[in-house]
């Protein structure tokens, strides 16, 4: 079983040779709705609409691949995001698209019976199942900061992710350590790839992730039969390939030099740029402005608050303070911006040299030309 990042050589999830049932209609989803979904998906994947039939074809062939969903140092925000997913809905996902054999927040079984279900998957479907991980993995002190069923998260992750076809790290915690890894990282929290380097991991960061991007990833896989291209942080380019700032609806105001100066002011009412209120859109790669949230209702900058950079590695440290454009200069207090320190430095230098100049003026140097001729 090979687990290359592009997924080319696997013998895992869908088998294109399966008989092509018109399962979607049988499941009560009209052809029209289904095609609408496929078109939406090709948009989410940044593909031309002509791809919709290809997606439709691929989805028609699917036999519910097995998925297990692990929660470690998480807040269940990504699970909740999944519950808000609209195409497909989570009900369709559970009943039709995937076989979600383990997910603590929704599964009926508990305790030993739940653990048995997980053990069955890792044993019987080695190398074929998908894992979704939500939450970071604590590495300090032998991993005692997160245990499930008496086992540590890192122990479970090594077994379950290590034997999977691929692992999708949903949310910034699972991808990069997220909030538990924020300084001083009390529990030594890390993302999945760092905890289980041998696993094939695709990161879908965000806090939480946008569930449409998860659907798009699954659909991408089913359509192209391989995992999508990723950036240097392991994020699919179709969702993280462009900066917020370069797709933001407030961008014309940025360029025009029109900024919100105070919450609720004229600029805030008229949708001016939130740059001065600390918006991190210029440093954040995510498709929020176009994909939006909750059935495309809105997104942070659209609603009136700056982006906090939630899809960037370690954003809890690199994007804070959230209401300042730049991070604090390490080692100085929260009131010391780079400009204050820099201006202080410049003034101090000027003062020091003024002093130097006075002293120089008062002394008589050797090696000075005796005559006062100028060349």
């Amino acid at each position: 079983m090979s687990r290359t990042r592009d997924g080319n050589e696997h013998d895992g999830l869908p088998d294109p040779a399966l008989p092509p049932p018109t399962v979607w209609e049988e499941r009560g989803i009209s052809r029209r709705d289904f095609m609408k979904f496929c078109t939406a998906m090709s948009a989410a994947l940044a593909l031309p609409p002509a791809f919709a039939p290809k997606i439709a074809h691929a989805l028609d062939q699917v036999k519910r691949p097995t998925l297990v969903w692990l929660e470690f140092q998480d807040c269940a925000g990504n699970t909740e995001a999944l519950l808000r997913s609209s195409h497909p809905t989570v009900a369709e996902l559970v009943l039709d698209v995937l076989s979600i054999d383990y997910h603590e927040t929704i599964m009926a079984a508990a305790g030993h019976q739940a653990e048995e279900a997980l053990a069955k998957v890792t044993k019987e479907q080695k190398g074929k199942y998908l894992v979704i991980v939500e939450g970071s993995i604590p590495m300090k002190d032998n991993g005692v900061y997160c245990c499930v069923g008496g086992r540590t998260a890192v122990d479970i992750a090594r077994e379950v992710c290590g034997n999977a076809f691929a692992t999708i790290a949903v949310g910034s915690c699972a991808a990069y350590g997220g909030i538990p890894a924020a300084a001083p990282n009390p529990t030594g929290a890390v993302g999945v790839k760092e905890a289980v380097p041998e696993a094939t991991v695709i990161n879908l960061p965000g806090c939480p992730l946008n569930p449409d991007n998860l659907t798009a990833l699954v659909v991408h896989y089913l359509t192209f039969n391989k995992l999508p291209a990723v950036d240097s942080h392991g994020r699919p380019l179709f969702a993280y390939g462009k900066r917020i700032h370069d797709a933001c609806e407030r961008r014309p105001h940025f360029d025009a030099g029109q900024y919100v100066e105070e919450w609720g002011d004229h600029g805030h009412k008229k949708g001016y740029c939130l740059y001065k209120m600390g918006c991190k859109g210029p440093a954040t790669w995510h498709n929020c402005p176009t994909q939006r949230y909750n059935m495309k209702t809105s997104w942070p900058v659209g609603a009136g608050h700056g982006c906090v950079g939630c899809s960037e590695p370690l954003f809890w440290d690199s994007m804070t303070p959230f209401y300042r454009r730049l991070p604090n200069v390490p080692g100085f207090g929260i009131e010391s911006t780079a400009d204050k320190i820099g201006a202080g430095l410049a003034v101090a230098t000027a003062a020091a040299f003024a002093g130097h100049g006075v002293i120089s003026g008062m002394r008589h140097d050797k090696g000075k030309p005796e005559d006062h001729e100028e060349a």
Binding site: A114, Y145, V148, K269, M295, P300, A303, P321, Y323, E335
Partner: protein
């Protein structure tokens, strides 16, 4: 005497483990433990207090919003900031819809399978289900064809042989008592509720940009501008959309959730005598009806009920709150055996449990990441039930009416409230009240806008330059799961100390220094257990609290 461990407890938020001693078919003793710790209180130290809400909101993605609210409130309290009316109303709407949505998800997706055997739904007669449904509610989706369709879907799913998340459960357990028709109806509504919740929570997206983890909170108000003449602000179009979603909200609650709740409860009345617990109930109250910050202006009142005595509502004094860590994996610099008020709280984690993998925890020693909060050294249950009991005791008109109505329908007295069933019923009653109240708050907002008040943020103390050198404050809130408090100390514009005591910290608490059990532990005592390998009954009582362990530990 046999000791069992249920880990993971599923269909909750987070990592909860229950250990219990079973004797004579009943729970003799129980221990509640959370097995996950992140240390966010530590992570907050030294940061900008205005950033805190973004961090604390990540305590939990289920009751998302609640820690944002408590956090901005505690910073506003410390800095003495009065927020504009409009911001208060918008917060109330956000809080209200959060409660409603969270409660419905809890009932259908986290709790229902404790009472509903979905496999039995396959045996139901869709026509009978339809008439059952029509007899209890005027909800339009009640035709035999509709239920036949649902049953067909379920059948097709079961026939694949791959039950996914429904595999390996306690189906067929003798404690399941609903007839197949009721089970089929519940399955249909399980699916409908899934659809409904993601629709109505768009109110958060409109007011807060997204859900989970909305992003328009700010210290001093809200970061969503009001302007009927702008397409980039909250305008009448968006308010109209919220209004229609609120209608949808109320419809479902009144026509589906409440009738289902009553129908299911009627089959499980014996659970009105099981799962009572500590008998003390604490509510901080919420929904400020103006921006004065006065407790008496809260729509849901603040108070304490002691020893199940509804005749007296005691006042709340936050100074009487202290957290113990004698059975939790922390150390206090003042040593063991002492409770600490959250302003002086410490989060010095120190694991002393068994080295994983383990079979059992050392329940005589420290056994949980949850601290043990106590009010005047008493354990307190918090949640919808506590809120209703306090309001009921205080003579709150709407609450009294609603509670009495439900009790009458079920043919039980108020003492039935102190139970597993009482907790589950209280959640429903509260949802009903909030769904009715929400449109009124939206009306207030609209009236303000029409009157030309577009004020949304108080910027006087936005700039840390204008802050005192030292300040401390607290923020209280009623989260879906109960009384929530955040305490902050600020020095030199930075967070010196930050402590949260969360509803599930109260409820999931382990024993304190005196060895007194926490509410989950106490509620499990004497629970009948038909089959200790399938402890369905334990799940029922634990789920009735709607546990959230990411919240509890943070």
């Amino acid at each position: 005497m046999a000791k069992i461990a249920i880990d993971p407890i599923t269909r909750i938020e987070g990592h909860l483990r229950i250990e219990a001693e079973i004797s004579g078919g009943r729970v003799a003793d129980a221990w509640s433990s959370s097995t996950m710790f992140r240390g966010i209180e530590r992570i907050l130290q030294g940061r900008d207090p205005r950033d805190a809400w973004v961090f604390t909101q990540r305590f939990c993605g289920v009751c998302t919003t609640v820690h944002a609210i408590a956090s901005i409130r505690c910073v506003e309290n410390a800095l003495n900031i009065t927020i504009p009316q409009n911001a208060e109303i918008i917060r109330n709407i956000i809080i209200g819809i959060q409660n409603v949505q969270d409660h419905v998800i809890h009932f259908y997706h986290l709790h229902a399978l404790d009472w509903v055997d979905i496999t039995s739904a396959l045996k139901a007669d869709p026509a009978k289900t339809a008439s059952l449904s029509a007899s209890i509610s005027e909800w339009p989706l009640n035709s035999p064809t509709y239920f036949k369709g649902v049953q067909g879907k379920l059948k097709a799913f079961v026939e694949t042989g791959r039950l996914g998340p429904f595999a390996n459960a306690y189906w067929g357990h003798p404690a399941y008592r609903l007839p197949p028709e009721a089970n089929l109806m519940a399955v249909a509504h399980y699916l409908e509720a899934l659809e409904w919740q993601k629709e109505i929570i768009r109110i958060h997206a409109i007011l807060g940009s997204k859900n989970p983890h909305p992003q328009t909170f700010i210290v001093g108000g809200m970061a969503i501008a009001l302007d009927p003449d702008s397409q980039s602000a909250l305008n009448m179009d968006k308010i109209a959309e919220i209004r229609s979603l609120l209608k949808k909200t109320r419809d479902f609650v009144e026509k589906v959730y409440i009738p289902d709740l009553l129908a299911v409860a009627a089959f499980y009345k014996d659970w009105a005598a099981i799962g009572g617990g500590v008998g003390n109930y604490l509510a901080y109250g919420d929904f400020p009806m103006d921006n004065s910050g006065k407790p008496e202006k809260l729509w849901m009142p603040r108070g304490i009920i002691l020893n199940r005595d509804l005749s007296k509502v005691h006042p709340v004094d936050d100074k009487k709150i202290a957290e113990y860590v004698d059975h939790s994996w922390y150390e206090y610099s003042a040593g063991a055996g002492k409770g600490v008020h959250p302003w002086d709280g410490e989060t010095n984690h120190k694991y002393t449990g068994p080295r994983p993998p383990y079979e059992f925890l050392d329940t005589n020693g420290k056994y949980s990441w949850v601290k043990a909060p106590r009010y005047a050294d008493q354990p307190m249950e918090v949640g919808p039930l506590s809120r209703l009991l306090v309001a009921y005791g205080a003579g709150h008109k709407e609450v009294k009416q609603a509670v009495d109505g439900v009790l009458a329908k079920l043919g039980v007295g108020p003492e039935a409230l102190f139970s597993t069933l009482g907790r589950t019923a209280a959640r429903g009653i509260e949802t009903l009240l909030l769904a009715a109240e929400l449109p009124k708050w939206l009306d207030q907002l609209t009236a303000n806008i029409v009157g030309g008040d577009l004020h949304i943020h108080n910027s006087e103390r936005w700039d840390p330059k204008d802050w005192p050198k030292e300040a401390s404050g607290f923020g209280l809130h009623e989260a879906p799961r109960g009384a929530l408090g955040h305490w902050i100390r600020i020095r030199d514009q930075k967070i010196l100390n930050y402590q949260a005591i969360v509803p599930s910290t109260w409820n999931a608490s382990p024993r304190d220094a005196a060895g007194t059990r926490g509410p989950y532990e106490a509620a499990l005592i004497d629970t009948p257990i038909a089959d200790q390998n399938k402890p369905l009954e334990i799940l029922r009582t634990i789920h009735s609290f709607d546990p959230c362990l990411a919240c509890a530990v943070h």
